[in-house]
């Protein structure tokens, strides 16, 4: 199971970032909306994520597959 320390660290990280946020208006989001700023894996990474899920034991928490759908783990 995920340790208590790690859970606390995660919550602290979210709290720190969330508490230091500033309001950004739509017209100020040109950098945030850049394709390379997307907070997800990009389509060009699809195949490498696929082979990593076959050859490694861990998967998930990256917007991709978490298991199932193929003969991998």
């Amino acid at each position: 199971m995920i340790s208590k320390k790690f859970t606390l660290f995660s919550l602290l990280l979210v709290f720190l970032f969330a508490s230091s946020c500033e309001t950004v208006k739509e017209y100020q989001k040109n950098r945030l909306n850049d394709a390379e700023m997307a907070l997800s894996s990009r389509k060009v990474e699809k195949n490498e994520m696929n082979f990593q899920s076959y050859k490694e034991g861990a998967a998930g928490a990256n917007g991709g597959k978490t298991g199932g759908g193929c003969g991998c783990n």
Partner: protein
């Protein structure tokens, strides 16, 4: 008094005009529009790997049996895979102002694997395989409220594995740049039980028949026609083809992303995954310390808990830092850490190069042991209840690095519908001695 009245009337007309403009704008935005093809994405990849710890041959170059009847199986993991994925994106607007997005995808992979030949000990199995996987997703967004809801379905077919999946998701945006997402998905898979047909006396019950290691079925091959039939134990009426076993994967995903300032944003992603059913693969051999051959046997349940963070930062006008970290743990004893960084550098506003590096480390599962390391007792039965020699379950580190390039000129590439082109090459090295290369191309047409 007259002046005051005229001023009030003037102000009223001004406000009325102002509000009527706002109303007109909303009508313009939320005008009903039928679905229209907005974007086509094509991703094509070539992947090549080499290594010497194939799970098909028991985790390495192995000797099946002892004495004059012993057979050597090469542990090569040489594999080439060519994959293509086409995705159509259609967007339309309903009468209530909701935006509807439909993603229709079709993927086709074709691979050649050296180890696949050794599903039969003679090396006579086909080394090729093709996987076809269509998908369909629908999302409805309420642009006014910042909410979305969607459902999706997915199917995958290859000769020894079939999968059907359903998912549903919801999303909410708040006014401070935060976005919460929740998704549930279910993969309902069927593993085709094609076991290696070696001359093992363990599973043979007679001429052309084989009892599976789990005693669920008897598989018989008609000697003259070659047709395969499966029988339930004790039954005389068989079904055509190989038997199958279920493998179900249920996932609940939560995500929260937050804009921190004009150049910085982060996301936290958490998945809770429950797998049930037949989680082994029938063609993964385990060869014990006495050279007894069996097939991978793993528990029929697995719970996985990965949690990930992303932090993306746009520095100045030219440099972006994309960073990612993931911690993973499961109830098979495997824990892992993944950290990656990618630094896209914009040579022009429309052309960038992106070096990247990813480090991965994992501990072994409780059930892994290398070739000949799983033990048998005095009666030649396995000492352990569960066993595998698949190196994906072993302890190792890996490094993955490479370079990407992206070009997206304003208005697209001249005289074409091509809006952007992305190329990415990566080299992967595992401490198990597995190494691979992958090159991918992503075309976006608009």
């Amino acid at each position: 008094m007259k002046k005051l009245s005229l001023t009030l009337i003037g102000l009223y007309v001004l406000f009325l005009h102002g509000f009527s403009q706002v109303s007109q704008k909303y009508e313009d935005i939320f005008q009903s529009k039928p679905l229209k093809l907005e974007e086509i994405n094509l991703v094509t990849s070539y992947y090549s790997q080499n290594g010497s710890h194939s799970a098909v041959t028991g985790g390495g170059t192995s000797l099946l049996g002892l004495g004059a009847n012993a057979v050597t199986l090469p542990g090569s993991e040489k594999l080439n895979d060519f994959s293509n994925m086409l995705e159509l994106k259609l967007v339309g607007y309903g009468e209530t102002g909701n935006r509807h997005t439909i993603l229709a995808g079709l993927g086709i992979d074709h691979h050649t694997a050296a180890s696949q030949k050794y599903i039969t000990a003679s090396g006579a199995s086909s080394p090729d395989g093709t996987r076809v996987y269509p998908s369909l997703n629908w999302t409805m967004e309420n642009l006014n409220k910042g909410t979305e809801v969607g459902i999706g379905t997915y199917y995958s077919h290859e000769y020894n594995y079939n999968s059907f999946a359903l998912d549903g998701h919801v999303g909410f945006k708040n006014k401070t740049g935060g976005e919460f997402g929740a998704k549930v998905s279910a993969y309902l898979d069927q593993v085709v039980l094609i076991y290696p047909k070696d001359d093992s006396t363990l599973y043979k019950t007679g001429t052309n028949s084989l009892v599976t290691p789990y005693d669920q079925f008897v598989i018989k091959t008609n000697a003259s026609s070659g047709a395969v039939y499966s029988y339930l134990p004790g039954s005389t009426s068989g079904s055509t083809g190989y038997p199958t076993a279920s493998r179900n994967t249920f996932t609940a995903s939560l995500s929260y992303s937050q804009v921190i300032n004009k150049s910085l944003q982060m996301a936290i992603l958490f998945d809770a995954v429950k797998q049930e059913g037949y989680l082994s693969l029938p063609f993964h051999r385990v060869i014990f310390n006495n050279h007894l051959e069996r097939y991978e046997k793993l528990p029929n349940s697995r719970t996985k808990l990965p949690i990930g963070f992303r932090l993306n930062y746009f520095i100045g006008d030219d440099v972006i830092i994309r960073s990612y970290y993931r911690y993973y743990t499961d109830d098979w004893g495997l824990t892992s850490h993944t950290a990656s960084i990618e630094i896209p550098y914009k040579i022009t506003p429309f052309f960038s190069v992106s070096p990247f590096y990813r480090y991965y480390t994992q501990t072994a599962t409780k059930y892994f042991a290398p070739l000949y390391q799983h033990k048998v007792d005095a009666a030649a039965n396995p000492v352990e209840s569960y066993y595998t020699s698949n190196y994906a379950s072993s302890a190792f580190n890996s490094n993955y690095y490479g370079l990407g390039m992206r070009s997206a000129p304003p208005g697209g590439f001249k005289n074409t519908y091509l809006a952007s082109l992305e190329v990415r090459y990566g080299h992967y090295v595992q401490t198990t001695d597995l190494n691979s290369n992958v090159i991918s191309l992503h075309f976006t047409f608009k």
